[in-house]
């Protein structure tokens, strides 16, 4: 709302003065700012807050069915073990996936830093590296799913190793997380191309890189909890 609108209609300046829907619009669009942050960043945080609730609901329902089942819960350490050169290494693939995601979080943090330094080439390179690591993660997850479905016979409604809920919660939680990673890869590639084209230089702001970074770090954050509760517990 600008000065002329206020001059035409002074009642808009006082919240509550305008009744009905028009008043709602007036209140929400009034010249007030709660957060001393770019709007994109504040909105991304609000979105991530809502996503926190979504993932916590998934993990909580996983906890609930795992507590309440009378069947033995499959041992994740064995289910996700890999045989490398005859040696049986527990959780190997998951450990590698964890390190891949952490590495991508590091390159992302660097990209944000170089973005604020106006180093276009390095920012774009780091963003592409982050996206590539994200793709690697999704690829390994596809491998993990294939192995689980084809070789171990895990289905959302049952599996040969124990509690039927193992499959449903596993596919739901890791699937939703993988979807976030995939969306993040697309997001990062778009931002990286805009960095390269000088879009943010013309705009005069590199916050978009930081906002994309917030999303990417959140994906890593969720994995920290999935790793702890689903794979290690």
């Amino acid at each position: 709302m600008n000065q002329s609108a206020l001059a035409e209609n002074p009642s808009l300046a006082a919240p509550g003065a305008t009744p009905g829907l028009r008043g709602v619009v007036a209140d929400w669009s009034a010249d007030k700012q709660a957060f001393a942050a770019p709007w994109g960043k504040a909105m991304m945080w609000i979105f991530l807050l809502s996503d926190t609730f979504v993932f916590t609901c998934f993990l909580t329902s996983y906890m609930n069915v795992r507590i309440s089942t009378t069947e033995p819960w499959p041992n994740a350490s064995e289910v996700f073990a890999l045989a490398v050169g005859g040696a049986h290494i527990p959780l190997l693939l998951i450990a590698i996936m964890t390190f891949v995601l952490i590495t991508s979080s590091g390159t992302m943090a660097m990209a944000v830093n170089f973005g604020y330094r106006r180093d276009r080439k390095r920012t774009a390179r780091l963003l592409f590296a982050t996206a590539a690591l994200g793709l690697t993660f999704v690829g390994m997850q596809a491998f993990e799913w294939t192995k689980l479905i084809v070789e171990e016979g895990v289905r959302p409604w049952g599996n040969p190793m124990g509690a039927a809920q193992f499959g449903s919660t596993f596919f739901m939680i890791t699937g939703f997380h993988g979807l976030h990673v995939s969306a993040g890869v697309v997001y990062l590639i778009v931002v990286a191309m805009r960095v390269l084209s000088g879009f943010y230089d013309r705009k005069g702001a590199y916050e978009t890189v930081e906002v994309a970074g917030l999303y990417w770090h959140f994906v890593d954050l969720v994995w920290v909890f999935i790793f702890a509760f689903f794979y290690l517990w």
Binding site: D31, Q33, A34, F35, A36, A37, P38, W39, G40, A42, W45, I46, L48, L49, T52, F53, T56, T60, M63, N64, V65, R66, I67, S68, T69, T70, S77, P90, L91, A95, T98, F99, I102, S105, G106, M108, A109, M110, V112, N113, Y116, R117, K203, G204, A205, Y206, E207, E210, G213, L214, H217, D220, L221, V224, F225, F227, A228, Y231, L232, W233
Partner: protein, 119 residues
């Protein structure tokens, strides 16, 4: 407010606001390294098959440490203003109530199942 905070130059609002987050690379490299260390440690918990309370304590401690590092430094929460911190970090506390309720509910369901179906 036509010219939003995001449109100003970073030199300006690095001082005026917490909008532009500019910190020494050293901090990020440190946190990056720590994340690797803690991930390795939590993997070791499984590798050496620690069991019982020790296992759960270590898993939770390493998990919370990693989560704190990511949110505080990588997501710059440590440098944000208190207004934003409260809005983002406050509401998830309500989830603790949900988790507690569902844990109690899960126990109850388990006991009911044992009593009814398992002979």
């Amino acid at each position: 407010m036509d010219r939003a905070v995001g449109d100003s130059y970073p030199e300006q609002h690095a001082q005026a606001h917490a909008g532009g987050q500019q910190h020494p690379i050293r901090i990020y490299l440190w946190i990056w390294g720590l994340l690797f260390v803690f991930s390795t440690l939590s993997y070791m918990v499984d590798y050496y098959q620690l069991q019982g309370v020790l296992r759960w304590t270590l898993i939770i401690v390493f998990m919370l440490a990693k989560a704190t590092f990511i949110v505080a430094v990588f997501m710059h929460m440590a440098w944000e203003r208190l207004a934003l911190k409260l809005v983002i970090l406050g509401p998830p506390l309500a989830l603790l109530v949900l988790i507690a309720l569902m844990a109690i509910e899960g126990d109850y369901t388990f006991l009911t199942r044992v009593a009814s179906f398992v002979s």
